[in-house]
């Protein structure tokens, strides 16, 4: 867990750092604008009555939270004042006493209730519950509904984004493979950019961590994961509003893959080091056993939290900085600050997009390397 502290700290630090900005813009609105822009304030007051205009700190927070979550619609942008969303609905697939497939546009009504073959489903905070015609939910103490949740296999926004990224990666690298065939083993066009990256993954990540002899078997996984995460991270930087790698289910799945590959490719030495650590006294062996066993779980756990926290933090920071324009009232002073900071953080985030993909791949190969390498018992412990 030592490793995972760092990104969490970073995440917290960034969140805390951004708070003053939000606070400042708020203060300005509360005190100065009321007096200075009396006429404007009056205009703004009328605007505030229209629901959904993202103008307040709470509205911004809600908007960011909404962005970070998965969605049943693919929204490119929305007009809060008119309550219009621009995008397209995605299919919802439920397993609730049989397969139920319908468009998410059925939720687009006042109560967010869809009537499918006589069963009513209610969309509540991005989750689907079985409900009645009124869309009433029974809430528990934590405001979580206690209604039955059907098994949800919907093609959500994140699934579409992943399919898009997967297609992109597949297209890029099959075209590189084809270019090799056509060009007599030499890359052409965009492949010249991709090839050094593949060699980088092989020479800087796979071979040093796994070893010259065994790395070849894991290259497929490492390369796929690296480019998949990287493309998804970069897609998150586009204005399409995609946030796939900042979703806990995605990172859990990725980390689980690394975990399973590590465990299934582990050799005898690896298990021996977990259950009966050589070179230490017997009582220590017994104490070390659960620690080592837990260690196998914390490693992928650190992996999933790191990726999730970094990407989420990036999205929160960028959206908060952009929101400064809308929360603050003085456009002339807020805009340069907001745009400047957003640009700065965006550049850092592009670096982070690569870095997180790199670190994920790096640590995956490190864990795999630890599981498959042949230990020399004399030099360590």
């Amino acid at each position: 867990m030592v490793i995972s502290n760092k990104p969490l700290n970073l995440f917290l630090a960034i969140v805390i750092l951004t708070m003053p900005f939000l606070g400042f813009s708020n203060a300005e609105k509360d005190s100065l604008t009321v007096e200075k822009h009396a006429a404007e304030a009056g205009h703004a007051a009328t605007e505030h009555k229209v629901e959904g205009a993202v103008k307040t700190k709470d509205a911004v927070n809600a908007y960011i939270e909404h962005h970070l979550q998965d969605s049943y619609d693919f929204n490119f942008f929305s007009d809060g004042e008119k309550g219009v969303h621009y995008g397209f609905s995605l299919p919802i697939i439920l397993w609730d006493n049989g397969l139920k497939v319908f468009s998410s546009s059925q939720f687009h009504n006042d109560k967010e209730v869809a009537n499918v073959d006589g069963t009513f489903y209610k969309l509540h905070h991005g989750k689907i519950y079985v409900s009645d015609a009124e869309g009433s939910l029974a809430l528990d103490g934590h405001d979580h509904p206690t209604n039955v949740k059907p098994l949800d296999f919907s093609i959500t926004k994140n699934v579409v984004s992943m399919l898009f990224a997967a297609f992109l990666v597949f297209f890029m690298f099959t075209s590189l493979a084809k270019a090799y065939k056509k060009n007599g083993g030499l890359p052409s066009g965009f492949g010249r950019v991709l090839e050094p990256l593949i060699i980088f993954i092989r020479d800087e990540i796979a071979i040093p961590n796994i070893g010259e002899k065994k790395y070849r078997k894991f290259m497929g996984y490492l390369l796929t994961v690296f480019f998949f995460i990287w493309i998804l991270n970069l897609l998150g930087m586009t204005p399409l509003g995609i946030n796939v790698t900042g979703n806990i289910a995605v990172t859990v799945c990725l980390a689980l893959f690394t975990f399973l590959i590590t465990q299934f490719s582990a050799n005898k030495d690896y298990w021996k080091h977990i259950f009966w650590m050589p070179g230490v006294p017997v009582p220590m062996k017994i104490i070390l056993m659960p620690i080592e066993l837990l260690g196998t779980l914390t490693k992928p756990f650190a992996l999933l939290i790191r990726l999730f926290a970094n990407i989420t933090a990036g999205h929160v920071v960028i959206m908060s900085l952009i929101a400064m324009i809308f929360v603050g009232k003085n456009l002339a002073s807020d805009m340069p600050i907001s745009i400047g900071l957003t640009l700065f953080i965006s550049i850092i985030e592009i670096l982070v997009a690569f870095l997180q993909a790199f670190i994920f791949t790096m640590l995956s190969s490190l864990f795999i390397g630890m599981a498959v390498q042949d230990h020399d018992h004399d030099d360590h412990h």
Partner: protein, 166 residues
């Protein structure tokens, strides 16, 4: 943590797993395998080419030094041959000179001997000729002088007179 667990969507997890597995399988089959094979082959090719170039260079160097050695040997041989030839020539000249000298000396000696013997022969012949000539003369003279008895008696007397004197 409660929020994280609440945010966890099984559907997304399910799709992610399927997409990832399918993507890995497809990429391994259609991209990574051919790409890695090509890259490895190319690297091996480059390594081989470099190695063979290095070898060729070494071979060239070896050849060059061999050539140099051969050249040096040839040069040394030529020098030795020239030297030998000079020596032989000198010796031949010396030998010839010596031979010629010896031959000359021998010839001179022979000539001398021949001349000597010829001379002796000639002298002997002359002597014989002279003696026979003088005998003839003496005979003719004697015949002339002793053709009459008077002169014969005169001679005998004279001889007797000579003998007496002795």
């Amino acid at each position: 943590m409660d929020k994280l667990i609440n945010d966890f969507s099984f559907g997304l997890f399910f799709w992610q797993a399927i997409i990832l597995v399918v993507l890995i399988l497809l990429l391994v089959k259609f991209a990574w395998k051919p790409i890695m094979t090509t890259i490895t082959e190319r690297e091996e090719g480059i390594k081989d080419a470099l190695l063979s170039a290095e070898n060729a260079k070494k071979e060239m160097m070896a050849l060059k030094s061999d050539n140099q050695k051969l050249l040096d040997e040839a040069r040394a041989e030529r020098d030795a041959m020239i030297k030998e030839a000079t020596a032989i020539k000198d010796k031949m000249i010396a030998d010839a000179k010596e031979d010629a000298q010896a031959q000359g000396a021998k010839m001179i000696e022979q000539a001398k001997a021949t001349i000597e013997s010829e001379k002796n022969n000639a002298v002997a012949e002359i002597k014989n000729q002279v003696s026979s000539l003088s005998l003839e003369i003496a005979e003719k003279l004697l015949k002339e002088e002793l053709s009459n008895t008077e002169s014969q008696t005169k001679l005998v007397e004279k001889m007797l007179a000579d003998v007496k004197l002795n």
